[in-house]
Symmetry: D2
Subunit: 420 residues, 4 copies
Amino acid sequence: MNTQLRHSAATPAGAAPEARYTAVRALTADLCQSLGPEDMGLQSMADASPAKWHLAHTTWFFETFLLATEQRDYRLFHPDFAYLFNSYYNGVGEMNPRALRGLMSRPTVAEVLAYRAHVDQHMQSLLRDRGDEPGISALLTLGLNHEQQHQELLLMDIKHLFSLNPLKPAWRPLPRVSTSSAAPLKYVSRPAGQVSIGHTGTGFAFDNETPRHPTLVPAHELADRSVSNAEFRDFVRDGGYRNPIFWMSDGWATAQREGWHGPLYWDEDLETEFSLAGWREIAPGAPVCHVSWYEADAFARWAGARLPTEAEWESLAVTQTLAGNFLDAGLVQPAPAAEGDLQMFGDVWEWTGSAYSPYPGFTPLGGSLGEYNGKFMINQMVLRGGACVTPADHIRASYRNFFYPQQRWQFAGLRLAKDA
Amino acid sequence: MNTQLRHSAATPAGAAPEARYTAVRALTADLCQSLGPEDMGLQSMADASPAKWHLAHTTWFFETFLLATEQRDYRLFHPDFAYLFNSYYNGVGEMNPRALRGLMSRPTVAEVLAYRAHVDQHMQSLLRDRGDEPGISALLTLGLNHEQQHQELLLMDIKHLFSLNPLKPAWRPLPRVSTSSAAPLKYVSRPAGQVSIGHTGTGFAFDNETPRHPTLVPAHELADRSVSNAEFRDFVRDGGYRNPIFWMSDGWATAQREGWHGPLYWDEDLETEFSLAGWREIAPGAPVCHVSWYEADAFARWAGARLPTEAEWESLAVTQTLAGNFLDAGLVQPAPAAEGDLQMFGDVWEWTGSAYSPYPGFTPLGGSLGEYNGKFMINQMVLRGGACVTPADHIRASYRNFFYPQQRWQFAGLRLAKDA
Amino acid sequence: MNTQLRHSAATPAGAAPEARYTAVRALTADLCQSLGPEDMGLQSMADASPAKWHLAHTTWFFETFLLATEQRDYRLFHPDFAYLFNSYYNGVGEMNPRALRGLMSRPTVAEVLAYRAHVDQHMQSLLRDRGDEPGISALLTLGLNHEQQHQELLLMDIKHLFSLNPLKPAWRPLPRVSTSSAAPLKYVSRPAGQVSIGHTGTGFAFDNETPRHPTLVPAHELADRSVSNAEFRDFVRDGGYRNPIFWMSDGWATAQREGWHGPLYWDEDLETEFSLAGWREIAPGAPVCHVSWYEADAFARWAGARLPTEAEWESLAVTQTLAGNFLDAGLVQPAPAAEGDLQMFGDVWEWTGSAYSPYPGFTPLGGSLGEYNGKFMINQMVLRGGACVTPADHIRASYRNFFYPQQRWQFAGLRLAKDA
Amino acid sequence: MNTQLRHSAATPAGAAPEARYTAVRALTADLCQSLGPEDMGLQSMADASPAKWHLAHTTWFFETFLLATEQRDYRLFHPDFAYLFNSYYNGVGEMNPRALRGLMSRPTVAEVLAYRAHVDQHMQSLLRDRGDEPGISALLTLGLNHEQQHQELLLMDIKHLFSLNPLKPAWRPLPRVSTSSAAPLKYVSRPAGQVSIGHTGTGFAFDNETPRHPTLVPAHELADRSVSNAEFRDFVRDGGYRNPIFWMSDGWATAQREGWHGPLYWDEDLETEFSLAGWREIAPGAPVCHVSWYEADAFARWAGARLPTEAEWESLAVTQTLAGNFLDAGLVQPAPAAEGDLQMFGDVWEWTGSAYSPYPGFTPLGGSLGEYNGKFMINQMVLRGGACVTPADHIRASYRNFFYPQQRWQFAGLRLAKDA
């Protein structure tokens, strides 16, 4: 049983541009190694995309924002691919409606791989020649981080697709998660005061992490690990999904309408859950995963606590080593925290109580890339810390992920906070 | 350019059971010859099914209604396939919801083909040993006719899927249709009187064609060919889709809500249409195709005519030779009528003015096969005569096809009738 | 307790035009006597209309088709009322969308009554002067029959509205229905043969009852009364609503989607039902009422029978006296049949197995009135015989009522038939 | 022409509890003075409620939270009214679904007024006896503020209902708004620093305004008045509704799906708008009104500015006199600012860029009243300052109103802000 990915998820630190490009691109293909052409064309819901589309869209990104503008005489691989594989950049043209992504049997997987090879070849050439130019380098880094986001999305989407299949296929065999219990939950005390959050300026960050700015946090306490499956199961067994008193009004309405009985992939027996390796027993000490913001918030209220704010979270996270259970570890499932690990990075994204809004003084990237983040800064909530499907070198303390409060297919859990 | 199907669509008349089985089964696979695994798993709308599903469902039919009951010690190929590939037979168990047919990347095409091979092998064995037993023979014939229906559905569904793809792929290269005009339309006069319609008792028929029974027809006239594309284009250009006076109330509401501007696959220029060979110029003399009952009925009203009833149609059809432009011809598109041909068979299914109701004294087949036809005898309208995607030996004068009045993806046109 | 209507539902036979007009118009107003302005403006679902709208629409009908064309110098009561109160006659102009009928607090009830008074005054004048002219007389009769249809609709709609009110108001106090059981059901044998159905030519008929024409009926049997509540309750208790084997495919899907557990107004205890007089015990011997075609058809299949065709029904009905439990009786609820009464008229409309299609040779009325019936001749099923909310002089053996197979708020039941 | 409300919207400062109660309650009834029973029962959309429901629900609030708990031997006016008129307090029992509020023709308006009289009588008695007890007094104040919120909702809902009526009725004749232009827009400079926001502790506030807490604001500029109709019209004419570049992604999707062409009540000519006095010319200098957050945000981006945060807004507002164009002024429409007036209070609610989240340390009210505000703190945005339909003594600088970003029927406009 080979559970190892062939390529490292890590882009070698300080590597040459070509090497970094190659490493990230190879991992994306690697994630599809166990998938057949049938698997790669399906779209299980409007929020998800086919694996084939992820392969092509990330390629389109390099073609559009680097090759088409920087590579002299570059010829588009196919005149219609801009229409097919533009996701949401109105600034660069019309696009295929999102809901139709799963109805495109053509181009085939082979054609998409040829598209990737074509773009890779030209990118290698461009990077060899001009990879150290700041403009090229910045777009390369953006494109690689973009592709890493789609690596995670690809796994989220495949998991969702397979979960709907009565045959319950597995993406890959994966190691078993430890069945040990989580250590008793303790709180870390944090004083009131002014903190600065946002990108420190060293290394890459998305525009939504800027500008770094001061903000005030009250005296508060943060749990020393994520909420565990066992703890969340207590909430369910205590009637958490049947009592509106714990829920936001919109959350309660959603839970009733969609018939939620527990986290997305939990069976009704509360003992087994669907994983990328198929059905597994729920590991009691591992962080609960695949809960919406509504469920995270309801759990916190039931527990007499609340969700942390972004500032509370980030100001603690910067004190921690940037390490954890990421995609590179090959586990691809949340696991119980190691002793002494606050588990702020990896395992599961942690919902915060902060709406995804622009930071004071926020300015989007110029041009069409300004559509990357800014236009989504409404109706969504911030998550922090990365998950077991996130490449390790993609994350940082200031990283702001965001989803709608009802979404559950991302690898999201929560950490409790309390006012002091 | 090979436009020929490798296998004849025709089951050899009077052939041995094994040969008949082989011929029909081979044609189904042949229709998929130009399709890749990506093409075969997609479902473009709730009414359609993936090609892969058609391959498996027709196989399940033989497994369930023949092998599982008649073949001693037969072991199901896969315990879950009954759930996956049962279409609507409540009597034999639960089934996967129709809308999820397009989300099953597994089983793969290869696995479905293995399923077909497994069942084929056992069917061959059963037919060799007991193929002449009346019970076996009857179920075989039903199963083969069932598979032929799905051959037509498979082509309808692939056409619809490809029409939504911005790359506009073709199923296969196909011969050009004659661009000649249709001969001036004439009417055949038919006297009032009592006629008998329904299955004559010779050869196979579905239960919905029985019992044969007398009925009265008024004096009337029937057009000597189907309505042509050129004639239908006149209707469109005359504002036919903008004037409610021609339309049934439900039809008008549907046309407005869905923004109809002409037959399903016509471009807005009224000059080109999507075919199984890709975009083509509309052949003016060929029968109009892919119109709903609402559009057929509106056209007839605009033309000062009406749709024929089943009895009017059938009583003329029995006087004609059972020949026409069927799937076997390899054209797979409607074409202008040959001189002297009333065009009652082949080219396009012809909408009638008759609701799909049980014939007087109708009794469904016993057991679960009673769900084959009877439970659909409401809300649908009868079509007659077969189309260019229908196997030639699948049709007869008494054949009753049926679709909802708003459906357009079947190869349906119309013939005009008038009261005398 | 006054349960009597102040005005007779019957238009005096052979009365002068003015008297006939007055009688019908007075009854409509009378039906609203117990309703307040709050009750008269609400629309409980898209199929229903506010009582106020019925009052105005029937008035608009006379204004549009008689006064505006026949009365010299007639001035419309209000320039916008044509837009507000046209139901579906595209030929005479645009109209307010049906779903918005319940959002028009203005005109007020008082203004609508003033509209009625205005039109009544002019109609009286017109009828006095020219009421005997054949053209005027024909339109008068049509308008009065139209108003009678809306009398029935008004009661259907009020019943539906009140059924949704947690206070469960009553339209009026009404007499109790006999709690006696129905006599054992027997069948009347009917020979095969040719019969003629459709309007005989004497008196008024809608265009959809014409032309009278011959048709064949098989040898068959018709039940000697409607299916009773007790019999239908047996079906429910026998799991009739939980077993798809009894149901048409579309019907089963509808019943599941909408959670049907019995006839529309039955409580889940199967003992009480909502009536125009509020909640009542279900009268076991009275005809079951408020069932859709799907339920009627499923019941018949469960009972080993079927629904009669129009021709079977009408050819027996013409042998019966045109009498029964109509609106005029003041009971306004179905009741057990009197001994010897086949119950073909009154109590409940009886679903037939016949689709609502044009009779052979059907020609709609000319002009905009051609939209009255013809454009609805698709997707609906025929009901016969009138109900306890139908004015007695509105019905005849050839009368064809029609509803969609899923509709239940009309007073519809069924009669069983069998092949001989 | 009497455009004056009979009762002052202002509760006399420092008045006796009975007097305050009487004043507020009388105004609510007064707002319905020009409405008939037909107007008062309709619900034009799920977000709105019938006027009758507002009259009853506010009464239920006093009955439930004061009389039922504090008045010995108090008997509920009607046992079902708790079910009918509970809005969303799960803690006190089940409730009628919101979407059915417009289908309750009973209780009648007269019955609801009797309910009000009954509760008023008992409230007067309770207040006379114990109105000075702190517990009673606090609940009284909450109940009166609650009723004032529904006064504003009632006007919003009537405006929406009337806007859908083809007869375009007016709520009342109202004074004309000045047609003068707005003064050229200037910005007020504001330094960076720490400010405290939230309820100061003096007088009444809702729980969502607490606790008062420090926060940081950057150096910024705030416009010296609301955006005017003329300015917003420039945005529309400049293609603001056709260019996605100005819009949030969710906003653009909403605008396309719903076909927005300008503020909610603007005609397509951009010259006239629907007001509570019927159709009027758009006053160029008056604040734009009835825009969603999406439109406000898009306008600001087009204008090279942004929306202010809550803290920026409140820290300037506390420096201003709490005066403006409120309901008490009787204009009931936004109007151009007086010279020197920053227009922060009255005219239109001003959208902020702040999500409606709990303040640090927020604790909801205890018991069922904890459902008043807290459970809505997700998916909504904060608005500040009150509008021309808000009672003057209902507002304060710390007041947080909240609506979903797509909602437009509230009297909402915007003020521009900029980073320094």
